[in-house]
């Protein structure tokens, strides 16, 4: 480079000499570092796309109209073997203790665990697909996928029986019930507590409340589920006197406990983000502190509170462990909050371990997973864009 420039005219050469001094030497380490960093960063987008792809891909066979009969055909023989499952689950009302999720739990005021679940005890038998004897599902041939598609809007979820029905309506109803109860419990508590922390609390109270909420946020959901199963269920049953010990009410309250930190944190952020000018103007006009807090700051933080509630919903929707432990796991459709329910996420969690790969049941479970994914994705997108839109409007002075 330098040599070529020297051949030019004098003024040009002195100018280009200057350029040479300031031009950086090409360093391999910089170049590689930058490429690596950029590459790695793009991977996080790739991961979301990959998650989309794979979760949807496994659920697609249900919609396939032409599907050759696969290797995994449950023979009549194995049907016979499975019938014992089938028998039991065919009555939704009071199935016996024979595992399966049809478990409505029993003995009120008893101690725990009547919830025998199904062999979630993992056998590593995710063996090659030819394992007929292991098959707990009804099959994966063309007819079964068609049945699955047809029965998706049924009112019964019985994938493991002679006549499999994959109605996800009870699951949706169950999830809906739990979400409503959880939000009715958690949202007022969290929002009011956040209002207190943002507007009324003294410094000392803040130092007590905030760490407590952070601690609650750090509780693993298994622990909350354990608490609900052991203590909360008995307590609530004594107070409210209903029959089934584990039902959507208990599950909803437990999920609410899990959702409180999220709603609290975001609401508090929204409340403290309200411009101080609002606060000062209101006080200047003669309003008292509580009037300002309740009638000025709270309404001004509404987009943030809305986003908080949306994120709380998202959390409750996808919560698996609490649902598995505290809701009773019976796929029923009914609006009574005191009966057992089964949520979408719990269905995936409980049944995925026992499903044969490539099977109709497997595909339906992935379909449920895709639904959950879409739902939380949309919820998150709404929360973000809506909140941003409103905040932008306010900052622009509208």
């Amino acid at each position: 480079m330098t040599k070529k420039n020297n051949k030019k005219k004098n003024t040009a050469s002195s100018a280009s000499d200057l350029i040479d001094i300031t031009r950086r030497k090409f360093r391999w380490s910089d170049f590689i570092a930058e490429k690596v960093i950029k590459g790695v960063a793009f991977l996080s987008i790739t991961i979301i796309v990959l998650i989309f792809i794979f979760v949807f891909r496994e659920s697609l066979p249900i919609f396939a109209s032409k599907k050759a009969a696969t290797l995994q055909e449950a023979t009549v023989a194995s049907y016979e073997v499975q019938e014992t499952y089938g028998e039991v689950t065919d009555q939704l009302q009071e199935p016996e203790v024979q595992e399966t999720y049809g478990e409505v739990t029993d003995s009120p005021a008893g101690k725990e665990i009547q919830e025998t679940y199904g062999e979630v005890v993992d056998s590593t038998a995710h063996a090659p697909v030819e394992e007929n004897s292991y098959s707990v599902s009804a099959g994966s041939g063309y007819e079964d996928n068609q049945t699955a598609l047809k029965t998706l809007t049924n009112k019964e979820w019985l994938p493991v029986s002679g006549n499999p029905r994959y109605g996800i309506l009870p699951l949706i109803v169950g999830t809906f019930k739990i979400t409503v109860i959880a939000l009715l419990f958690a949202a007022p508590l969290a929002i009011l507590a956040a209002l207190y922390t943002a507007s009324f609390a003294s410094k000392r109270m803040k130092e007590i409340i905030k760490p407590t909420i952070e601690m609650l946020a750090g509780f693993p959901s298994v622990v909350i589920g354990f608490f609900a199963l052991m203590v909360l269920a008995t307590f609530l049953q004594d107070v409210f006197n209903y029959d089934t010990r584990l039902n959507s009410f208990v599950g909803g309250i437990a999920m609410g406990i899990a959702a409180i930190p999220i709603i609290f944190t975001i609401t508090e952020d929204a409340l403290t983000a309200v411009p101080k000018s609002y606060y000062e103007a209101s006080l200047a006009l003669g309003a008292s502190k509580w009037q300002t807090a309740f009638f000025v700051i709270l309404p001004a933080a509404t987009p943030g509170i809305f986003a908080a509630i949306l994120l709380g919903i998202g959390r409750v929707f996808g919560e698996t462990m609490i649902a598995l432990m505290a809701t009773g796991n019976a796929a029923q459709m009914g609006l009574n909050p005191f009966e057992s329910v089964r949520t979408l996420a719990a269905t995936i969690g409980a049944e995925m371990a026992e499903v044969v790969f490539g099977d109709t049941h497997y595909n339906v479970l992935f379909l449920i997973g895709s639904l959950l994914f879409i739902f939380t994705f949309v919820l998150n997108a709404i929360a973000e864009f809506y909140v941003k839109g409103k905040l932008m409007k306010r900052i622009q002075g509208k």
Partner: protein
């Protein structure tokens, strides 16, 4: 005057209402912790923590669960922390603030943070086990089923995906606290961009990287849903010796014991003990992360 009085009453009521909400939340947390501590404190003995479960989980200890949790978390951190740190470095140093790429990555990270954890499990099953695992099997082991099964490697990678957003956000927060003057000074002294990052920015944000790691570890130790079908087992006779073994974790142990154990009275103390161990573990991790984060924020305002 009466209006004043009424206003005062309203004020007191509202303040009282909000205060009681806060107190109810605090009470719930206190009750939860108290119940678990009281129920489990007698169980925590050295034998409990270091011996294997015996006789169908009615006696013995939970050592394999502790070991499995620790191993899971270590492999997960090795996978997630470098990856997340590099992404955070890209977001703060290399990408311009308003570029499409930076916005997309941030949106992606925020979305990853709210996806239910069971979806990660599904992804782990469909991608890691069935796709990567079986491809590895057919390519290297001639079709024999070794990697196409749930094991600790896939479970750790699934967890790493789950905790990636936490790491990215924490590291980014710490990277932003390094003052721009420091970077400018380094560049002015002739260092290249990468040298600045490597020698000035990263050492200055080590506490943020540590916070991210601790939060990720805390989350990884507690989450059970993603590993339900990617590798965990209720009882494994030996400790996981290689990456293709199954393992036990505390959270899953609690879940199965409480919902499926045949002998409730005998396993109940062990349930409480295990829960107490898990809770103390996450609690200690979270406290250290909070303290670290507090110190980062303090430095920032300075």
């Amino acid at each position: 005057m009466i209006r004043n009085f009424k206003n005062n009453i309203k004020g007191i009521l509202i303040e009282g209402l909000t205060l009681s909400s806060a107190l109810v939340i605090i009470a719930i947390v206190v009750v939860m912790v108290a119940v678990i501590v009281i129920g489990g404190k007698d169980q925590i003995t050295w034998e409990f923590l270091t011996s294997f479960p015996e006789e169908g989980m009615t006696k013995g200890g939970i050592f394999p669960a502790i070991y499995g949790t620790a191993l899971l978390v270590i492999i997960m951190s090795v996978a997630a922390v470098p990856f997340g740190t590099i992404t955070a470095i890209y977001l703060t140093e290399y990408a311009s603030e308003n570029s499409i790429i930076a916005k997309t990555i941030r949106f992606a990270v925020r979305t990853l943070a709210v996806i239910p954890s069971i979806i990660y499990g599904l992804f782990g099953l469909g991608f890691f086990i069935k796709f990567v695992g079986t491809s590895m099997d057919t390519a290297f082991w001639g079709g024999q089923l070794k990697w196409g099964q749930p094991n600790i490697l896939w479970a750790s990678l699934t967890m790493a995906l789950l905790t990636l957003p936490v790491v990215i956000v924490s590291v980014e927060e710490a990277l932003k606290t390094v003052p721009r003057d420091l970077r400018a000074a380094s560049l002015a002294l002739g260092a290249t961009k990468w040298q600045t990052i490597w020698k000035v920015v990263i050492p200055g944000s080590i506490s943020g990287i540590m916070t991210g790691t601790i939060l990720a570890v805390s989350r990884g130790a507690g989450e059970v849903a993603p590993i339900l079908f990617t590798g965990v087992a209720y009882y494994v006779a030996t400790l996981p010796g290689s990456l293709s073994d199954q393992f036990m974790v505390l959270g899953y142990h609690i879940y199965v014991m409480t919902t499926q154990s045949a002998n409730v009275d005998q396993t109940m103390p062990i349930q409480f003990g295990t829960t107490l161990v898990l809770l103390s573990l996450t609690f200690m991790l979270n406290i250290s992360a909070i303290v670290l984060r507090y110190r980062i924020r303090k430095n920032k305002t300075n």
